[in-house]
């Protein structure tokens, strides 16, 4: 059963001071439910990534409420937020952010190591996660020996290895070609279907819109519109447009 996983209420965020001050989020309100793949879309500079960072607890909002899995992140201390992230959030970044000197399996095991699990256990789970993204035979490869699509699949395995209820993705397909992008989105779609997981994808890649269950459109730091079904999404963003 879908429950509210993320609730952002009238959040404001600006960068800089004085004349250089730029307001990025303006009274932004947003929510996302578990068990669905929600896309946050909009033009460059509209505040998507800032909103994602605030939801992840990696950036402080100037004001407003941020509730993730029933926990008010804006009221927690940074160490508690870090622990919360380690347990409940999986991350997929635009630039993959795999550590180049670690093998695929070692990279995937990182979230479990951060949580304090023994290496042997972490590596075993990492190999299982790599199998899930169809890269079991690349477990001992260094990222430098892998293609962009393979690296992003390793990143997906890393985001899933500790079985977090929420996956946050920042432009996961923007560094990939169409085929790899579709493959990655397919995996994310599959991940959302497991364990009533919430997958939030920030993107402006309209080739991937068909994978969304729900879509929030942002513009100038505000949520402009929320499309609740794939039909509504198709109606507003026809395939091939």
């Amino acid at each position: 059963m879908a429950t509210l996983g993320i609730r952002v209420q009238t959040v404001n965020k600006s960068f800089g001071r004085g004349e250089a001050r730029t307001v990025v989020l303006k009274e932004t309100t947003f929510s996302a439910e578990t068990g669905r793949l929600t896309m946050l879309v909009g033009p460059s500079g509209c505040g998507k990534t800032t909103l994602l960072s605030i939801i992840a607890g990696t950036l402080h909002a100037d004001s407003g409420e941020i509730e993730v899995l029933g926990q008010r992140l804006d009221q927690m201390k940074s160490n508690s937020v870090a622990k919360f992230r380690a347990k409940n959030l999986g991350f997929i970044f635009q630039q993959f952010n795999l550590i180049p000197t670690l093998t695929a399996a070692e990279n995937v095991s990182v979230p479990l190591v951060i949580q304090g699990h023994p290496y042997r256990y972490a590596e075993k789970k990492a190999r299982e996660a790599l199998e899930w993204v169809d890269l079991a035979d690349h477990a001992n490869f260094l990222p430098t020996k892998m293609s962009g699509g393979q690296m992003q699949r390793v990143a997906i395995a890393r985001a899933l290895v500790h079985e977090p209820p929420i996956i946050l993705c920042d432009e996961p397909t923007s560094s990939l070609d169409s085929e790899n992008g579709q493959q990655v989105m397919g995996l994310l779609r599959k991940a959302a279907g497991q364990h009533d997981r919430l997958v939030l994808v920030v993107t402006h890649d309209n080739r991937t819109y068909r994978f969304a269950d729900r879509m929030a459109e942002m513009e100038d730091g505000r949520i402009l519109r929320v499309l609740e079904t794939q039909e509504e999404i198709r109606a507003h963003h026809p395939p091939g447009e």
Partner: protein, 378 residues
């Protein structure tokens, strides 16, 4: 997390080797400088190391064992008269010119020992017999003397060979093992009276009086009594050795020169390691930020950087110390360079290396703990 940290470090081979090189070089400079300093300082009181007696009595103006302010011969008797003295014997020391039969001359440190007891004689005789010093015109030379006197000759000099000291015959009856003198010349041991004969005549010839306490009296107590009752300067072996070292520290440029080497070593090590480590942290900022985003705490990242820095410190320190030890025990000995690595040197250098490592780590940690994990989303 430590394992991940070390894999990150080992993976960046260029920086890893640069860091180790920096620490190795710093260790090498610091340990080498300190060992040379200690070696040089140990040479300053070589006479005392060769002639190991409990109490040294000298002219009141004497501050160090190479200083020669002769006393009257009767001063030996005055020292013997002090209550608590087990024995007291005269001791002669002077720099003299030795001339070989082929006409070449070498500076030597001439030591005159008590005629009857030979107290203070070298303990390690490697050839010949010490007792033969009772024969006329005889001397004992050290192995370094054999080497110096044999230079340019087809055959090494040995027992029975003759040379001259101030135009008087000196026949070698024994060869001993001794510590090198600060002046760089070999030691020549003979009896007190013969040493006086070898030396151009002066009104006063007695360099030191060597003494020992009776049972139940400490060296310090005896030295205090001798000084109080005779007005002469009296030192225990330990006190005189330190007085000698301190004199050289105060009156020569050795500490400044060696200290400069040590400080340069520290600065070079800190600069290379600090800069390379900071560069390593900068290049990995995005990865550290990703780790933070994934839930690693500031403590986790601090532990990672400390582990990296400490490991580099240990490897660099071990390598540097190994190189210094190799140089000291093999190469430097060939050139007769003073080298003495006391156990305190590795300890002090170890602390200095840990300070360098701490500086490097703190520079990196200061950046990482302030790191905004949100940069991974940009």
């Amino acid at each position: 997390m430590i394992r991940i940290a070390l894999k990150m470090l080992f993976g960046d081979r260029g920086k890893y080797l640069m860091l180790i090189s920096g620490i190795t070089f710093a260790t090498l400079l610091m340990a080498q400088g300190m060992s040379l300093f200690c070696g040089l300082m140990s040479w300053t009181f070589s006479t005392m190391r060769n002639v190991h007696v409990p109490v040294w009595v000298a002219d009141p103006k004497v501050e160090q064992c190479n200083d020669n302010k002769p006393m009257r011969d009767t001063d030996t008797t005055r020292v013997r008269s002090v209550d608590g003295v087990a024995w007291a014997v005269p001791f002669f020391q002077n720099l003299s010119m030795a001339r070989m039969q082929d006409g070449t001359s070498k500076m030597v440190t001439l030591i005159g020992l008590d005629n009857n007891t030979l107290i203070g004689a070298p303990t390690k005789i490697v050839a010949g017999r010490l007792e033969d010093l009772s024969m006329p015109n005889t001397v004992v030379i050290d192995e370094f003397g054999v080497e110096r006197f044999s230079a340019g000759r087809d055959k090494k000099i040995g027992i029975g060979d003759i040379f001259e000291i101030n135009d008087r015959e000196a026949r070698i009856v024994a060869i001993c093992d001794s510590y090198r003198s600060f002046t760089g010349g070999p030691y020549v041991f003979t009896t007190y009276d013969r040493a006086v004969e070898y030396t151009p005549n002066q009104r006063k010839m007695l360099s030191f009086v060597l003494a020992a306490p009776q049972a139940g009296i400490s060296d310090e107590e005896l030295a205090t009594r001798i000084a109080a009752q005779t007005g002469l300067a009296a030192f225990t072996h330990h006190a005189f050795a330190w007085s000698t070292i301190m004199w050289y520290i105060r009156n020569t440029g050795i500490p400044i020169n060696v200290g400069t080497i040590v400080i340069i070593g520290f600065i070079i090590g800190a600069a290379i390691s600090g800069q390379t480590f900071y560069s390593f942290v900068l290049e990995n900022t995005r990865h550290f930020a990703a780790l933070r985003a994934m839930g690693a705490s500031s403590g986790d990242l601090t532990a990672m950087l400390l582990a990296q820095a400490v490991l580099v410190g240990f490897i660099g320190y071990g390598t540097g110390l190994g190189v210094v030890t190799f140089l000291g025990t093999n190469l430097l000995k060939l050139g007769k360079v003073p080298f003495l690595m006391l156990w305190q040197i590795p300890a002090v250098v170890g602390v200095a290396v840990m300070v360098i490592v701490a500086i490097s780590a703190v520079i990196g940690i200061a950046r990482i703990v302030r790191l905004e994990p949100a940069i991974v989303f940009r």
